[in-house]
């Protein structure tokens, strides 16, 4: 347990299938270089954290992986297939920084929203939405409206809406950054439990190193302006990880030094 940080290249066994594979991606906004030659991989079923100070293009990178933005150069492969902007969402689900619940819809209707692009019947949508709400601990709140819920519960609804499509990959952009610390660690536990259940790959962006280390199997640290990969680390700590445990705290300290 001494080698807590090992370079990702050495730790990667050859037979691992990559759910997300980003190779040499660059992105400019006008003359401003946002991302420069980013390469990273998220093995299937793992949790990958992209960490960096603000302005290092974390969200842009996530948008490119999600297909919401296009890379100027480089390639994104999802499950080994080059990604197209029109890729099937049942594979990828995106959880935004804000919960983005539609205020005119009830909780269950907000959850169903994730399925409404497809052609499922209303009954099937309802059934899957109720299952997703049950998974995120929101049973009994189906007919409430978003303004009646607390921030933590709204966050759960957003998670349920992302899960209702049964994603193979879940992308998250600082999804719990607006919650209080206690609520956040509760959401971390829920997320890890659900990931185990659904066998998802999770890729998330955060500026909170502690969050990254509690959740991730692997961390990619970005350097800002333009965003470049500074370090790619495998986090090999036993789970569940208590942020107060000595090993975890030590790792947090070491990763913070990189940013």
């Amino acid at each position: 347990m001494n080698a807590i940080l090992t370079p990702a290249m050495l730790a990667k066994p050859p037979f691992v299938r990559n759910a997300v594979e980003v190779t040499h991606v660059s992105k400019h906004f006008g003359k401003l270089a946002v991302l420069e030659d980013i390469s990273l991989t998220a093995p299937s079923g793992s949790v990958l954290a992209i960490v960096g100070a603000s302005g290092c293009g974390k969200s842009t990178l996530l948008n490119i992986i999600a297909g919401l933005a296009r890379a100027d150069q480089g390639e994104v492969r999802i499950d080994g297939v080059a990604s197209e902007p029109s890729l099937d969402t049942r594979v990828i689900s995106y959880m935004f920084q804000e919960d983005r619940l539609l205020p005119w819809r009830t909780i269950v209707a907000n959850t169903e929203f994730g399925l409404e692009a497809g052609s499922l019947s209303a009954a099937a949508r309802r059934e899957r939405a109720l299952a997703a709400l049950k998974m995120t601990g929101l049973e009994g709140f189906e007919s409430a409206y978003p303004h009646e819920l607390s921030g933590g519960m709204r966050s759960r609804v957003a998670l349920a809406r992302s899960l209702v499509v049964k994603p193979y990959i879940l992308l998250m952009d600082e999804p719990f950054s607006k919650l209080d610390p206690q609520m956040r660690s509760q959401m971390h536990e829920e997320l890890l439990r659900i990931r185990e259940q659904l066998k998802m790959t999770v890729v998330f962006v955060t500026h909170d190193v502690e969050e990254a280390i509690v959740l991730a199997d692997k961390i990619v640290v970005l350097r800002p302006r333009p965003g470049r990969v500074r370090e790619s680390l495998v986090i090999d700590l036993p789970r569940p990880r208590d942020p107060l445990a000595a090993e975890v705290a030590e790792t947090v300290r070491r990763v913070r030094a990189l940013i």
């Binding site: 689900s93 935004f96 983005r100 205020p103 929203f113 994730g114 409404e116 692009a117 009994g140 303004h147």
Partner: protein
């Protein structure tokens, strides 16, 4: 976590609302009584052809209903208002969405709306008389010209207030443009449309009477002028009373409950 907080407070809120409702009803009834009393007192000292009292107005009204063209006149006026209003909604809503979702187009056409808004209903009525003569078209046109800019302005404002984050959310789920329109734009614009439509209907209803006094040979507006010309002041009052009661019924019987139902998701202040 396990129990819904809204269920425990729901009952209290409801009984509170019932008390509030009873108190409000009492206040409204007493206001009505005071008004009737003042009306009756004032009518005592004035000749009936200037100010008929409540009793005289009531008997004029029952007489109108019993042996006149009351229902017919009311029906034709209502028909014209609804027709003009529906046309205004059909034209104003898509135009509003178009101008609201396209900033350049919106900026370009903005002055037109201000100009149209400054033209008085009486001027539209005179134009309509020139173009359509004594016909349904005259009143429908005036209602349309009054209601359309109101609906358009409100929908325009609504379309501008669509949250780009919600559109992005829909896009992240690969929703088609048509679905984004139906599921994000429409619900955002609906409250704006509703308040515009409500104003438009009220204005349309009022200007329809102006239009009918000069541009038709039936309808409530025409009967009002006829009664005034023949100094049948009690009938003028009877018609006025009818219109007021209709508007109040529309507001509290249809519009308010509909609004409460449609926008039940809004936070109550």
């Amino acid at each position: 976590m396990a129990s819904l907080p809204a269920t425990s407070t729901g009952f209290l809120a409801r009984s509170g609302r019932m008390n509030g409702f009873a108190r409000m009803a009492g206040q409204r009834l007493s206001l009505l009584a005071v008004f009737l009393l003042l009306w009756w007192l004032a009518a005592q000292r004035v000749p009936a052809f200037i100010l008929p009292g409540p009793g005289k107005t009531w008997s004029a009204l029952t007489e109108l209903i019993a042996n006149g063209t009351f229902a017919e006149d009311l029906g034709i006026t209502l028909y014209r208002v609804v027709a003009g209003f529906l046309l205004a909604a059909i034209v104003g809503t898509p135009l509003g969405i178009l101008l609201g979702s396209n900033r350049r187009l919106g900026n370009y056409f903005e002055p037109v709306l201000s100009v149209v808004n400054t033209v008085s209903a009486a001027i539209w009525a005179i134009f309509a008389l020139i173009w359509f003569g004594i016909s349904n078209g005259t009143t429908v046109f005036v209602v349309f010209m009054e209601a359309m800019p109101l609906i358009l302005t409100n929908v325009w404002q609504g379309a501008q207030s669509v949250n780009a984050e919600y559109v992005e959310l829909a896009r992240s789920f690969q929703m088609s443009r048509a679905k984004v329109m139906g599921k994000i734009y429409l619900p955002t614009v609906l409250p704006y449309f509703f308040s515009g439509a409500r104003l438009a209907f009220g204005f349309g209803w009022r200007v329809s009477l102006v239009a009918e006094t000069i541009g038709s040979s039936n309808g409530v507006g025409y009967r009002l002028r006829q009664a005034a010309d023949l100094v049948q002041t009690d009938q003028v009052f009877a018609w006025t009373l009818t219109m007021v009661v209709l508007m109040v019924m529309l507001e509290y019987g249809i519009l308010k409950p509909l609004e409460n139902h449609l926008f039940r998701w809004k936070r109550r202040a």
